[in-house]
C-alpha cells in the first residue's frame, strides 16, 4: 500500500514516475466505478484516461484541505462522466431507461438494479459501499453540503432496495449473482 500524500507531493512537483504509480494503483478501481456509472466498457476507459490526463496536467487544482487525492480523483471522474453523458445521451441520465442489452457486462441483479438508478444515486452508493468514502469526502466529490449526504444515501439505498427486491421476487427469490 502506498502513501497517498507522499506520492501526491511528488505528483504536484511534476514527477511522472510518481504519477504512474498512482495511476496503476487507482485506475482499476476508477475504471470499474466508471463502468457502472456509464454502463459501457469503452466509454469508461475513455473517461478514465481523460480524468488522469486532466489531473496530470493541472495537479495544483487539488486542494489538500478539502479531502484526499483519491476522493479528488473520483470527484473529477464523476464530473467527467456527467459531462460525457450530457454530450452523448442526455436522456439516459434520468435513469428511467433500462440499459441496452449487452451493455452491462456483469449481468447480476444488483448491478442491473444499480444501472436503473439516477447517476447521482449510482455514484453515491458505489463510492460509499465499494470505495468506502467518508461522508466528508462524498460531500466534496458530489459538491453538496455534508448534511445532505446522509439523506441522499438513504434515498439511494431505498431506490436500489426497491428495484433489487422487485427483481428478486420476479426471479422467484433466486440470487442471480
Amino acid at each position: 500500500m502506498f502513501d497517498d500524500w507522499e506520492l501526491w507531493k511528488k505528483i504536484a512537483n511534476g514527477n511522472a514516475d510518481a504519477f504512474d504509480i498512482w495511476y496503476r494503483e487507482t485506475a482499476p478501481r476508477l475504471r470499474v466505478f466508471l463502468r457502472h456509472l456509464l454502463g459501457d466498457e469503452q466509454e469508461a476507459e475513455d473517461v478514465m484516461q481523460e480524468t488522469f490526463t486532466q489531473i496530470w496536467r493541472r495537479p495544483h487544482r487539488f486542494d489538500p484541505e478539502r479531502g484526499s487525492p483519491r476522493a479528488y480523483l473520483f470527484g473529477v471522474a464523476r464530473r467527467q462522466a456527467a459531462e460525457w453523458r450530457r454530450k452523448q445521451k442526455p436522456a439516459d441520465e434520468l435513469g428511467v431507461d433500462p440499459p441496452a442489452p449487452g451493455r452491462v457486462e456483469i449481468a447480476s441483479m444488483i448491478t442491473e438494479a444499480l444501472s436503473r438508478l439516477t447517476l447521482e444515486h449510482r455514484t453515491l452508493l458505489w463510492l460509499r459501499e465499494v470505495e468506502g468514502q467518508s461522508y466528508e469526502e462524498l460531500a466534496m466529490i458530489l459538491e453538496v453540503p455534508l448534511g445532505t449526504v446522509r439523506s441522499r444515501l438513504f434515498a439511494a439505498r431505498e431506490a436500489l432496495r426497491a428495484l433489487w427486491c422487485s427483481a428478486r421476487r420476479n426471479s422467484g427469490g433466486r440470487h442471480d449473482l
Partner: protein, 365 residues
C-alpha cells in the same frame, strides 16, 4: 418511533454512524426494520462483490509527459503550415503594430490637450493658488485668489481669454495693500493688469511690485479637478462663493469677488464685506465690541441680529472653531466701487480696547 422515522437511521448504521437510542431500540425489536437492515447490508456486500469481479483487468500502461504550452504549439503549427510568404506575414504584423501605435499616440495626445487648463501660481515663498479653467464653459473661465504674501495682502484674479492651439490668453489682475487698509476692488487699480499668452508645460514668470516674481505653471486636463482641501488650518477663515441669507432669503452674492478661495489666518485681522441695503459685516474669531456670536457648522455661519436670522453660506468649511463673531454695521457707507450689489473685501486690524474685547481700526486707503 415508527419504521418510516427509523429508516434513515438504518442507512446511517450501515455507514458506521451512531444513531439515537430510541431509533436503536426500535430497530432491534421491529421485524420490518431488521429486514431493511439486512437488505442494506446485503446490497453492500453484493456491490463490493460485483466490483471485485471487475478489478482483474490491468489498466493499459501510459507514458506521462508534461504537456507543451498550447499557444506555443498552435503558433508552431501555424508557422509551419503558413500559406503566404513569411516576409508578407511579417510585414502585415509590422503594419498592425504601426497602426496600433499611431492610434495609441493620438489617444494620448487627445487626453493631453483636453478642454481644461490647470494653472498653478507660485509666489516668492511657495505655491499661491491652483485654478482650473474651462475653454468650453464660460462660467468656468476665471479664478480669484485673495490672501497674504509676506506682510502684504494680494488680490489676484485671472481670466481665461481665447485659445489658440496649445496656447491660451490669460488676463491677470493683481493689487496689493497693507492689512487694515480699506481696499478698492482689484480691477479698479490701474497698472496692475496684463494679458499674456501662456502655453501649459512652459512656465511663465512675471513681476508684481512689492510682492516679487510670480510663476505660472500649467497643464491640459480632460476634466475640472477638485482643488481645495476641506480642512482649514488653525486660525484660518476661508470662504468660497459666499451667499448671505436674511430670514431665509438671499440678499447678497459675493461670488464676483470670492470666486476662488478667500483665505486669512491672521487672528488680529477681521474680514468684512458690504451688501447694498444691508450694510457691512465683519467676521472675526476674536470677540469684537458690539458683535454677536455666530454658530459655525462646516460652511454655514448662522446668527441672529437686529430681529432677523442671518446665514452666510460658503462652498468650503469656514474655520476650525464652532463659533465666530459677527459685527453688523447697517449704516456703513462704502467708499469704493459697488459691483453686483456688493463690495469686498475689508481686512481691518483689530485692537484690544477692553479686556476680552477688540475693535476694528481702519486707516483711510
Amino acid at each position: 418511533m415508527i419504521c418510516d422515522d427509523a429508516a434513515e437511521y438504518i442507512s446511517a448504521l450501515c455507514d458506521g454512524e451512531t444513531i439515537p437510542p430510541t431509533a436503536a431500540q426500535h430497530i432491534a425489536t421491529c421485524p420490518d426494520c431488521q429486514a431493511r437492515l439486512s437488505d442494506y447490508l446485503a446490497m453492500g456486500v453484493e456491490l463490493r462483490r460485483a466490483a471485485s469481479l471487475g478489478l482483474a483487468n490491468a489498466v493499459p500502461p501510459r507514458v506521462w509527459t508534461k504537456p507543451q504550452n498550447r499557444v506555443a504549439t498552435l503558433w508552431q503549427k501555424a508557422w509551419v503550415s503558413m500559406r503566404i510568404p513569411r516576409v508578407a506575414f511579417a510585414g502585415l504584423i509590422a503594419g498592425i503594430l504601426v497602426l496600433a501605435s499611431v492610434l495609441a499616440v493620438n489617444r494620448a495626445r487627445a487626453q493631453n490637450t483636453g478642454p481644461v487648463v490647470l494653472l498653478t501660481t507660485v509666489g516668492p515663498n511657495g505655491p499661491l493658488a491652483d485654478c482650473a479653467f474651462s475653454t468650453q464653459d464660460i462660467t468656468q473661465n476665471y479664478c480669484v485668489w485673495y490672501g497674504k504674501v509676506g506682510s502684504l495682502f494680494l488680490a489676484y484674479r485671472v481670466f481665461l481669454g481665447s485659445r489658440n492651439g496649445g496656447r491660451v490668453q490669460l488676463g491677470i489682475y493683481t493689487t496689493t495693500y497693507t492689512p487694515g487698509v480699506t481696499p478698492g476692488s482689484p480691477e479698479s487699480q490701474s497698472g496692475s493688469s496684463r494679458w499674456v499668452w501662456f502655453e501649459p508645460g512652459e512656465p511663465l514668470k512675471f513681476n508684481v511690485p512689492q510682492v516679487g516674481t510670480l510663476t505660472l505653471e500649467g497643464e491640459w486636463m480632460d476634466h475640472i479637478p477638485i482643488l481645495n482641501t476641506l480642512d482649514p488650518i488653525p486660525n484660518e477663515i476661508r470662504l468660497l462663493m459666499p451667499l448671505l441669507l436674511k430670514d431665509n432669503v438671499v440678499v447678497g452674492d459675493l461670488s464676483f469677488y470670492i470666486g476662488g478661495i478667500f483665505s486669512m489666518d491672521e487672528l488680529d485681522l477681521a474680514f468684512g464685506f458690504y451688501i447694498s441695503g444691508q450694510g457691512r459685516f465683519l467676521l472675526s474669531q476674536l470677540p469684537m465690541k458690539g458683535a454677536v456670536e455666530a454658530h459655525v457648522v462646516q460652511g454655514r455661519i448662522s446668527f441672529d441680529e437686529g430681529g432677523h436670522s442671518w446665514e452666510l453660506l460658503s462652498g468650503v468649511p469656514v474655520c476650525r472653531a464652532d463659533h465666530i463673531w459677527v459685527l453688523h454695521q447697517p449704516d456703513y457707507k462704502p467708499k469704493d466701487i459697488v459691483r453686483n450689489g456688493a463690495t469686498c473685501c475689508y481686512t481691518p486690524k483689530l485692537v484690544q480696547t477692553e479686556p476680552g474685547l477688540w475693535e476694528p481700526q481702519e486707516k483711510p486707503n
